[in-house]
Amino acid sequence: MVNEEILLEVRGLKVHFPIEKGIITRRRVGWVRAVDGVDFTLRRGESLGLVGESGCGKTTTAMAVARLEALSAGQVLFEGRDLASMANAELNRARKDFQIVFQDPWSSLDPRMRVRDIIAEPLRIHAGRGHIAATEAEIAERVLALMERCGLSKDFATRYPHEFSGGQRQRIGIARALVLGPKLIIADEPVSALDVSIQSQILNLLKDLQKELGLTFLFIAHDLAVVEYFCSRIAVMYLGRIVETASSYELNRAPLHPYTKALLSAVPLPDPKRERERRRIILKGDVPSPSVERPGCPFRERCPEAMDRCEREAPTLRPVNPGRTGHEAGGGVGASGGGAGVADFGGAGGLGGGNGVGRAESGHLVSCFLYAD
């Protein structure tokens, strides 16, 4: 059964990298669990932001979705078909429907190719494999049209990447990602390497393109302001797992997971009055090593609200039941943090109300025993 509305569904995604030692013969001495069981769904036309601190596995997740990293386990269902188990020929054909915008515009463009050839490359690769039919004249026309759409002058077509600034280079990268008319864009921190003033230009360009072309975005970022602006839904990652998913509005208004709360409390507020009241939650300790397998919740050592149960079992990502949440959070949690969360939550309650199913579909999911049944 394929749900037409869902473009991408990721189930139980794991990417483990082997740690090898030895000079003559290499033996495996362990695994880095970069991504350790990630689930999410992306509806058509939506933009999901994956946020988290560096090293939490968000880029690896994106690369695994695009099958640029080998999956250790899990399914990546793109339009109902599992990319993870696809044979190469079929996968290569499917690749034209999802494209990547890379983080670093200095490394994502081949310095020895002209701009027009860089943008045309995806077309040429797929035309060469017979996935699409395109003559050189059509390719040239399409490239020029896209350059114009992405804010690049047609005169730039024969230039080399070193002649451009970071923002312009990122526009070239975006044009390349769009040239095949993809359904999904995987944007791996597309603005984090850019000046703040350029960031907004690029974000607006992406937003316009999304509206115009009906694109779906998997948007990786570590900047909460950027994802809040760009994404309709946000997934927060910690140590290779998603700990909370909610609509952008809801997550910012009423974060539930203690990690999300800490993360959001670090964002300065533009309103001076609210900024004065902002209380930063400072987490103790460092992110544990992803190469050590531990039972229990990955966040438990640093969690200000850890319980005994968190030591023994790992929580799973579950829909939040607003009624129960209020009680549990209010009861089991320190009064200030939990209480504020619940109050705000009530304000945003229009999304769910008493309707548990609607709530789950709007997708506020959290992986924490505070909100478990």
């Binding site: 290499r26 690369m63 695009a66 640029l68 190469n88 996968l91 290569n92 054909r93 690749r95 034209k96 494209q99 990547i100 890379f102 983080q103 670093d104 490394s107 994502s108 463009l109 081949d110 310095p111 020895r112 860089i118 490359e121 995806p122 690769i125 797929h126 494999r129 080399y160 070193h162 990268g173 390349r176 095949l180």
Partner: protein, 278 residues
């Protein structure tokens, strides 16, 4: 890269002109030489350069005309230098690119092999190969070529490792580009600069290595002339007859200069970032 672009690059043009003069002179040597390069002349031993005798560069300790020997030996030296570099570069680049691109076990063992070759001083390695293969001109090429293999392998592997992590490689992969596409379209063009520098260096070092081998009696066998064995035989009379060493030496110097200038020019021409600087 067009002819016009090369014409604009004065460095490359100078290199081409120098190499062109050598090639013309060597071509000429097949049809005409001032004297017979291997005929001894006991009446004119160690004569200084002079117009009157016709020995423009003088004569050596056997009375043979040095200019004729340089012209004749140039062919041997140039063929050895070009072939040995071609052999070392082809095998070495293939090995290094393969190792760097595939990584893992291939990389591991190919580089250990290169380490073994590297652990011998290059001259010692060349002597060893010559001793095994025997003293023939062809074997000089093979010996120098083998010395070059690990050098080219290391350089191309290192360059590939640096380039292959770039996102433009990932971008090509994300569209299902084949490994050979990535190798020829993205990787090799981006490692051309260090390789060209290494080639121009190797062309010159080959001439010097050939001289060393000939000097030790393992290279081009007398009486056939090569620049290397001319230099080595000149050593004995260099103090009383400096021209016996100076002219073959100058022949080497200018050819090496020509190769290096051409290499520099090509490097600039092939790199879009440097193309418009001059």
């Amino acid at each position: 890269m067009t002819l016009k672009a090369i014409g604009k690059n004065s460095i490359a043009v100078t290199g081409i002109v120098i190499i062109g003069i050598y090639l013309l002179t060597i071509a000429l040597s097949f049809f005409w030489l001032p004297f017979d390069p291997v005929k001894m002349d006991v009446d004119h031993l160690l004569e200084p350069p002079s117009l009157a005798t016709g020995h423009l560069f003088g004569t050596d300790e056997f009375g043979r005309d040095i200019l004729s020997r340089i012209m004749k030996g140039g062919f041997v030296s140039l063929v050895i230098s070009l072939s040995a570099t071609a052999m070392g570069a082809t095998i070495g680049i293939a090995m290094g690119t393969w190792a760097g691109f595939l990584g893992g076990r291939w990389d591991h063992w190919l580089m250990r092999l290169a380490d073994v070759l590297f652990s011998f001083p290059s001259l010692l390695l060349a002597i060893f190969v010559m001793a095994v293969l025997g003293e023939k001109t062809w074997n000089v090429i093979i010996a120098i070529g083998i010395v070059y293999i690990p050098q080219f392998a290391r350089i191309s592997r290192g360059a590939i490792l640096g380039v292959k992590t770039n996102d433009f490689v990932r971008a090509a992969r994300s569209n299902g580009a084949s490994s050979s596409f990535i190798l020829f379209r993205h990787l090799l063009p981006n490692i051309i600069v260090p390789i060209i520098v290494q080639i121009s260096l190797s062309l010159s070092v080959a001439i010097l290595l050939e001289s060393s081998l000939s000097f030790l009696g393992l290279g081009v066998q007398p009486p056939a002339p090569s620049w290397g064995n001319m230099l080595s035989s000149a050593r004995k009379v260099m103090v009383i007859a400096p021209w016996t060493a100076v002219y073959p030496g100058l022949a080497i110097v200018f050819l090496v200069l020509g190769f290096n200038l051409l290499g520099d020019g090509l490097r600039d021409l092939l790199d879009p970032r440097l193309r418009n600087l001059r």
